[in-house]
Every structure is written in structure tokens, then in C-alpha cells.
Amino acid sequence: MSQSYDRGTVEDFGRWKEFSAGMWAWIFHKFTGWVLVGYLFTHIAVLSTATQGATTYTQTIRGLEALAIVRVLEVGLLAVAVFHILNGVRLLFVDLGVGLEAQDKSFYASLVLSGAIVVASVPTFVSGAF
């Protein structure tokens, strides 16, 4: 709603502390969604080296994968994707009107599960880079 004057601390400051589960879920889902689209565009850009010929492609991918930073980012991407998927599933259930009473619990569950999956996958992702 439009603000006709500055309510100062009342509206901008510290409000995030008062967010509830559903709001956090919304914020995280948004954030992860954006990261994923961003990645989609970069990903296609990188893969486009395939149009420059087989070697360029292989070298680019290998070169990138050799960088530790890329591996770390990949883990981040995995986290983002896993959360987005799990919370996406949660949202799909909400859309179907299933388990609405447990909406906060299912959000926490998505968080915890994402964490677990990411931790479990770290070895696979970073192997060979360090």
C-alpha cells in the first residue's frame, strides 16, 4: 500500500524478524527460483560452446570444472535446486488443498531435507577439485 509519509522504523526496520514460516518459504522460493533462471541462462550460454566445435566444448567444461570455485557454486546450485523442488512440491500440495494445517511443518521439513541432501552430495560434487 502506498505510504503517504515515512513510518520510519515501523515499516522497514527489523520486520524480517517477525516473518512467519509461510513468509520465509515464499521468500526462499522466490530467491531460489530466480537463481535457477539465472543459472538456466548461463548454463545454455556455456553449453553453446558446442557450436564452436567439440574441443572448445570439452575444454570449456573441463576448465570450468577444474576450478574449485565452480564446484562450490555447484553445491550452492544444488542446494538451491533441491530446496526449490522440495518446497515446490510442498506448494503443489498446498494448491491441491492437502496438508494445509501442516504448512509450517512441511516448510521446515523441506529446509532440513534440503540440508541433508546437500551435505550428502558434497563428496560427489567436490571430488577431484581439491
Binding site: K30, G33, W34, L36, V37, L40, F41, I44, A45, L47, S48, A50, T51, A54, T55, Y57, T58, I61, R62, E65, A66, E74, L78, A81, I85, G88, V89, L91, L92, D95, S121, T124, F125, S127, G128, A129
Partner: protein, 122 residues
């Protein structure tokens, strides 16, 4: 507020497609991750490997579908998020067309790359 309706409601369709694509993406994205990070480690990707996979019609088709749905899902999501922030009028139109063009470019470039990968064009 409630004066103007059209019988074909875009909000409705887009909302529905967002969910349908999401359902599709759950499967494909999981498959994609599994295949390229666990079965074949990303670091061991070569053009040849890619070409081998891409030459299979089923895989090729899946990847194109993946590309299209992900693009729709992602771009539509971004568009929604922007509208939720109260984007109106020309701004909204501008954003809409930028996003439409971006997705078309993305899908075109993606498909072209896929064709290269499959060795159909070289």
C-alpha cells in the same frame, strides 16, 4: 476494480501451466542432476559423451522439452514475481516483452546447441 473480465483468462492458464511444468520439472530435473553429477561426473564430461546421449531421440526430445518447460516455468515465475510487486501499465508491458524475447532467444539458442551436440548440424 471488478468491471473488466475476459472469458479467456491468462492468469488462470499461466497459473495452471506453472504447476504442470513444475510437476514435469520435478522428474526431469532430478534425472538431469543424477545423470550429469552422479552417473557421469560433471568434470568428466566430453563432447563425445554428450553427443552419444544427444543422438538418442528420446533423450534429445526430453532435453528440448526440459528446456522449453524450464524456460516457461522460470520466466513466467519471474514475470509473476514482478507483477506481484505491483508493476503496472507500460512498465508491465515492457517487462513482459523483454521476458518473452529473452525466452525465445534462450529456447532458440538452446535448441541450436542441442542440434550441434546431436551432430545434426556441425
Amino acid at each position: 476494480m471488478a468491471e473488466h473480465y475476459s472469458s479467456f483468462n491468462r492468469g488462470n492458464t499461466r497459473w495452471f501451466l506453472q504447476r504442470i511444468t513444475a510437476v514435469f520439472l520435478i522428474g526431469v530435473l532430478a534425472f538431469h542432476f543424477m545423470l550429469l553429477h552422479f552417473v557421469n561426473h560433471a568434470a568428466e564430461i566430453t563432447f563425445l559423451g554428450t553427443q552419444a546421449r544427444m543422438s538418442q531421440v528420446g533423450y534429445f526430445g526430453t532435453m528440448i522439452a526440459f528446456l522449453v518447460t524450464a524456460t516457461f516455468h522460470g520466466v513466467n515465475g519471474v514475470y509473476n514475481a514482478l507483477i506481484n510487486q505491483g508493476l503496472e501499465g507500460t512498465q508491465k508491458q515492457a517487462v513482459k516483452w523483454v521476458l518473452v524475447v529473452a525466452s525465445l532467444v534462450l529456447v532458440a539458442q538452446g535448441s541450436r546447441t542441442a542440434l550441434y551436440m546431436a551432430g545434426i548440424i556441425a
